[in-house]
Symmetry: C2
Subunit: 342 residues, 2 copies
Amino acid sequence: MSTGVNLKELAAELKLSPSTVSRALNDSYEISEATKKKVVSMAEKLNYQPNPFARSLRENKSKTIAVVMPERMSNFFSKVIDGIEEVTHQHGYHLLIYSTHEDVEREKKILNLLMNGRADAIVMSVSSQTSDISHLARLHERGVPLIFFDRICESIPTTKFITNDYESSFEGTRHLIQQGCRKIAFLMLSKELSITRERYRGYLDALKAAGLSPTPSLQVTCAHEEEKNVEAIRNMLLSEDRPDGLVSSVEKLALATYHAVKKTDIKIPEDLKIISFFSNLSIAGLLTPPLTTITQPAFTIGEECAKLLIKKLTKPRQPDLPNQIISIPSSITIRSSTVVDY
Amino acid sequence: MSTGVNLKELAAELKLSPSTVSRALNDSYEISEATKKKVVSMAEKLNYQPNPFARSLRENKSKTIAVVMPERMSNFFSKVIDGIEEVTHQHGYHLLIYSTHEDVEREKKILNLLMNGRADAIVMSVSSQTSDISHLARLHERGVPLIFFDRICESIPTTKFITNDYESSFEGTRHLIQQGCRKIAFLMLSKELSITRERYRGYLDALKAAGLSPTPSLQVTCAHEEEKNVEAIRNMLLSEDRPDGLVSSVEKLALATYHAVKKTDIKIPEDLKIISFFSNLSIAGLLTPPLTTITQPAFTIGEECAKLLIKKLTKPRQPDLPNQIISIPSSITIRSSTVVDY
DNA sequence: TGAAAATACGGAAACGATTGCGAAATGACT
DNA sequence: AGTCATTTCGCAATCGTTTCCGTATTTTCA
């Protein structure tokens, strides 16, 4: 197909052996400067491109990192990947990107495909369906460097990058309480998710700290279909126990809430104050009213994941990825959705 | 590193030769059903995973497709990739994804990295800076299957997938005129872009068809920095020649316009009617007022790109990708940003 | 029954790079 | 001049597959 010159042909052209040419191109000390120059210039002239598979086969590494995430249509994940790419690109690494579409079966399939060394390492955020983690454990035991971010898997002994989920959620909830909310709803995806657990805990603790008790009917676990979520949220907002405040643990549920509110005559922030984990700042400012956000450091999380992996992959004898959770703080940006007359 | 069993070890375990095992796993007619069964079950037992690089080296194909696009933080591109993935995943292909960040130098670097066969094919949408296309031409001449979508490169003889840019823009502009607009602004990225040219032409022709003449100061070419764009748009909106209608040729400039309008006392749609090429329907409905959109069939575009490539890559002796432009129509969804009292 | 054909498998080369080891050429030193 | 170290390069093995051959065994059929 798209085959240019290979090492042997390049060597023949130069009347040298392939080994010499290889060493020259890799700047080996065994080759004289004179021949190095000749080789390099001829390589440029013929536009020689080393075959990545021959190299990968020989060196047993692919210069490729896989990213596995639950969805692509999310500003948060896009930014994380931008962060990863920023770092890895500088080191000549390529990015294989997979979306599980929140489907654990698909997640298993993808990880199985990654068991054969196609990627040197994996960065992942688990699907909301993931409770059985044997597929992740197997991969880790096999020795593939594995890093989690955001939606982590605590029981696998490796490095995880998150934001300060508990504290942010606590602070966000406290902010609502300070604004006068007494009945605060909480929206979440699957309770299996690490982020759900931590953010939920922060929410509960903030309520408790204020002497408030949570209302079960205001704690809505959502699914994947946007329309159903909107409907469930709307019902909750119009129920007997209607809330006066709402914490959304993920971006898309905040949008669903705005959609739900549009179908009612509820006024934000007068009747209902909203805060959400959210990464799309441009959109947050354009919502009506502008949304108070817990802004996750998405790009930085991506960068940190990549930096750690690059260190592990490029330095000679690195230890295993340490079993620790690294937290990068979010920042709360107050907008009109939580403050009257902001 | 993460090395499981290989073919030789598997063969030794079965007391067979590697060639036999290979053939058995590939379901060759030369192998008896009995030994096939034995081989397959042993392979499963030992969790044998063929080395993808050895295979790629031997077969000269990687089962990988590269996607190169200008940015990741865009609903349109995310959806296109979802469409591509949907098709390619079923055929066991992997996706290498690159963002050029609208930087032509980076685009060149990326395409250079793809010259060595790392990907069996490339799906791309060019950056807004791209005018010199020699890097694309070289790749195509080298024989790498190359497909363009959305932001295409007409002069390279291959298949391109777009939406009906001209017609949609014409219709969108006509819609504004029908709603009473007489001075209609047009927002665009670089004039080099195919989508800019076509959408601009549709806009101009619609004006002409209505007997209106375009106002040069209302045609704003934007850059990459959101804040500058907002400022430029605001100045235009407040100028002497202020428009009463606006066509945005891309998603992010519509958002920039909403930001700009927020800083003025302009009322949409009373003072200014807005229509935009836009893919994020959920957001379009949440803007205030909801945005009338020209909705591009992003997912379908991705699917079609992938289907064509898969056909080319998996069928035995396929011809070159035909030099044609395939247009998949957008649909206009009218919302309140263009109709008073909608 | 004997020759031809079909079946089932193994040996070895090939894909394109890297690298340990050996060897020729050059220079240094006594 | 002869020995030895240094520089510079080539030979061949290797990574894990696939596949072209060749071959041994069995089947077919006149």
